[in-house]
């Protein structure tokens, strides 16, 4: 482990190294035809490397919890007797909880996020959902990611934001191989960066693939896109690969544990490690997407969910600490959501205990810590489920307007709701 925190791109040596790689790849590929509508290979490389994201540019990190996180066992109404009586087998002992105020407490495993809460960096928006809750994982997640709860559409809310931006494959990057629908636009989509197994063609094959990735003047629009997607593979990967090989920024304020057995490595922390490295290196990326699955806790919920929330909490705390050793810490805002919460009462039959609303977490230096939205009542249930007190589009509109600095209309249509969780 490198003892010295890496604080700027040139310390990583990646500018030189990557540019050399680019030159090597591009010399074989002589430009033919007009490619005016597309950035050239060189331009993308230049953008990623020579024009790093300007300082003070806000960066959004989206954390998707797949499977339906049980919101009631995440932000727990620990003074409400109905909570304990409704779910005697899956409630936590009051003395283990991490109280946030006189009514609500965090899951016992979320010590890291509790400490960020104490530093006023955590906004918890309660009862978030959408009208007519859908209890299918797939449909509900589609509604969240498309921001279109009443109609099936094929573009995501951030994809539509990308449509309004200049084309740049670095602008939105999802960790993992499959691009989440959230980042699919009409014209432009985010890039996917698979973790591990990032096998980019090398040597002769690389230069041949780069030849194939030229846009030809005889290309139809879709063929040009096919060529460009291959070119993006090289531009994203060749600017990113050297950075990935560098050590992650140090989490200065966390104790170093030798042997690396501090609860075990896990995929979310690996994803966030990569994001931290790339943010530190100045990647021209405004949106990062990471995810963790397994929240569909039908059995042994108390233990399983505590483990997962512990992973979320510790990974994000570590990530925030890593950012503190870079110049970008104050620019980063994290948004955590899941497709739905779960039923108040456990429903044993067929395991259909998918619920409706749940809490969202927004974390960062720019955040005004505290609670937002009304806590859904446990005694006034709708169909046995928690009420939705905040529409997720209120949160999205706030993020697009105040973090991505764009008019929300072009992404969400007319939407007036906002949640005031940013510092003035």
């Amino acid at each position: 482990m490198n003892k010295n925190p890496l604080t700027n791109p040139s310390q990583l040596g990646m500018k030189e190294c990557t540019r050399r790689q680019f030159l090597k790849y591009t010399t074989g590929a002589v430009a033919i035809g007009a490619t005016a509508n597309f950035l050239t290979f060189d331009q993308i490389a230049q953008a990623a490397l020579n024009n790093p994201l300007p300082s003070n540019t806000p960066i959004l990190v989206i954390v998707t919890l797949y499977g339906g996180n049980d919101g009631l066992n995440t932000v727990i109404p620990y003074k409400d007797p109905v909570y304990f009586s409704s779910r005697p087998d899956i409630s936590y002992k009051p003395e283990t909880l991490l109280p946030l105020d006189a009514e609500l407490a965090l899951n016992p495993s979320m010590t890291g996020i509790k400490s960020l809460w104490d530093q006023q960096k955590v906004a918890i928006i309660r009862g978030v959902g959408y009208p007519k809750p859908d209890r299918s994982h797939f449909s509900s997640m589609a509604k969240w990611q498309t921001a279109s709860p009443d109609k099936n559409i094929n573009t995501g809310w951030l994809g539509r934001w990308l449509d309004t931006q200049p084309i740049d494959p670095m602008l939105a990057i999802s960790l993992g191989s499959v691009l989440p629908p959230m980042l699919t636009g009409n014209k432009i989509s985010g890039s996917a960066l698979p973790l591990g197994g990032l096998l980019i063609p090398k040597g002769n094959l690389a230069s041949q693939c780069i030849k194939l990735s030229k846009v030809d003047r005889t290309d139809s629009k879709l063929m040009a896109s096919a060529a460009t997607s291959m070119r993006n593979l090289f531009s994203v990967s060749s600017s990113i690969t050297p950075i990935l090989k560098a050590p992650a920024p140090m989490a200065i304020d966390l104790p170093t544990i030798n042997g690396g057995n501090a609860g075990g490595d896990n995929n979310l922390s690996q994803q966030l490690d990569v994001v931290a490295k790339l943010i530190d290196a100045g990647s021209a990326t405004k949106i990062w997407s990471v995810s963790l699955g397994g929240f569909d806790t039908h059995a042994n919920e108390a233990n399983a969910q505590a483990t997962l929330l512990g992973v979320v909490s510790s990974s994000l705390t570590r990530f925030m600490s890593q950012l503190n050793s870079t110049t970008r810490a104050k620019d980063v805002t994290i948004m955590i959501y899941s497709e739905f919460g779960r039923r108040v009462k456990g429903n044993a039959s067929e395991g259909t205990d998918h619920g409706s609303s749940g809490p969202m977490f927004i974390i960062g230096d720019q955040i005004k810590g505290g609670f937002y939205g009304d806590q859904p009542s446990l005694s006034k249930l709708i169909d046995g489920d928690l009420a939705v007190t905040t529409d997720f589009r209120d949160v999205y509109a706030t993020i697009i307007e105040s973090i991505l600095k764009s008019p929300p209309e072009r992404t969400l249509g007319k939407w007036s709701g906002r949640v005031n969780f940013l510092k003035p």
């Binding site: 859908d134 691009l179 879709l222 040009a224």
Partner: protein, 450 residues
Amino acid sequence: MSNLSLKQLFTPKQLTKPTQSKRLETSRLFHRFGFGPRPGEYAQALKNGYIPTRNKLLTPLNIDLGASKVTDPVITDLGKRPEPNTAEVVPFAVAMRSQSQALTLWWLDKMTLSDHGLTEKMTWFWHGHWATSIQKLNYPLPMYNQNKTFRTHALGNFKNMTKAMLQDGALQFWLDGQENTLKAPNENLGRELMELFTLGVNRYSEDDVKAIARSLTGYQVVRSNGTVTIKESRRDTNPVTLLGKTTVFNGDTLSEFLVEQNNCALFIAERLWYRFISSTEPMPLNFVAKNAFSNRDILATVTAIASDSAMSNPKYAMVKSPVEWFVSTCRALELTPSLLKTPNKIINYLDKLGQVPFSPPNVSGWPAGEAWLSSATAQYRITFATWLIKQSDLKALKQIPKEKWVEQSADWLGISKWSPRTILALQTSLNDAENFALLALCSPEYVVNA
């Protein structure tokens, strides 16, 4: 590279051949109305002429010898899921996994080995239309049964198909049909039946959604095998007013009523346009499919589309979805999916590319067009193709003299024309057949059907 030398790269033959003008249409016939040509088929089709080729590709076979080589999988009723932490869990999970895998490979084999691509292509189309995912069912048998229903009706009458689909356990369970009761109506199936399966979005009111939900109450599904029954006590038998008609519907009368709507012809024409002609350009109002669907006859409609002038319009390119790309690659390389070394890898690769049969992302099916053109899919296509090519003897390519590789590989793969860009890339690989095949299969001309 000057333009002069580029011109020389075109073989004069390709530019002047009288069949040139039908290369595009013939390529579209093979790749869109089937899963691509096997070696030699495209060149032979060009010799035979366009009309005979079209007739041949569109006429179903009495006996499909190729498809009959694929043995039906053994998919059983796995029964109730065992309690967690019991001894029964492991054999249950093993059977679930192996049967699900066998089911997927069986279908991929059918697509690859069939002598009548259109039947397989339409089965695939209907899977994306009535998009049902095994991820929610969690049992392979209902998905297998649904696939058989698609096969029965793939080129038949849409009215009969719709009736059969309301009796389909996988679809009913997927859209919560079994939770739709007199006391607590659930709109999921009814809404999608109108929006995504028969009429199209906004061609009905919210009151129609409530009415159709009531008409569909009472269905019960045995999840593990897909058996559908109707429980009269859970059924709402009061008359409803749906799209202006007041009556008591049952599944069959409801199917007939919906499918007879004019909007049904419009909607199915739109869906066929989107999957067969263009996912990016709007459908012209006079598109032939709408009238051709007047009897709700699917084969007649598809035949009309294949004969439409849109087939020769260069504007209507289509991206191959990952499954389409994989199957056409297997056909070109003469590979059988289930016989590949560690066939489970196929499903992993398809998963990375974002499209696994029986697992559409949601009820509206898979996306189309640019959604399949990300940097990550470009990468996985290269590694997937490399893996496949290693297991092929590349007979079709190797029997072409090297100096003709570039020219004749377009015929091998059913590509109407290589671009100057791809010709340049292919010419750097004339000493390495595997590499040549890789570039050809990952080229924009192969990933996108012109």
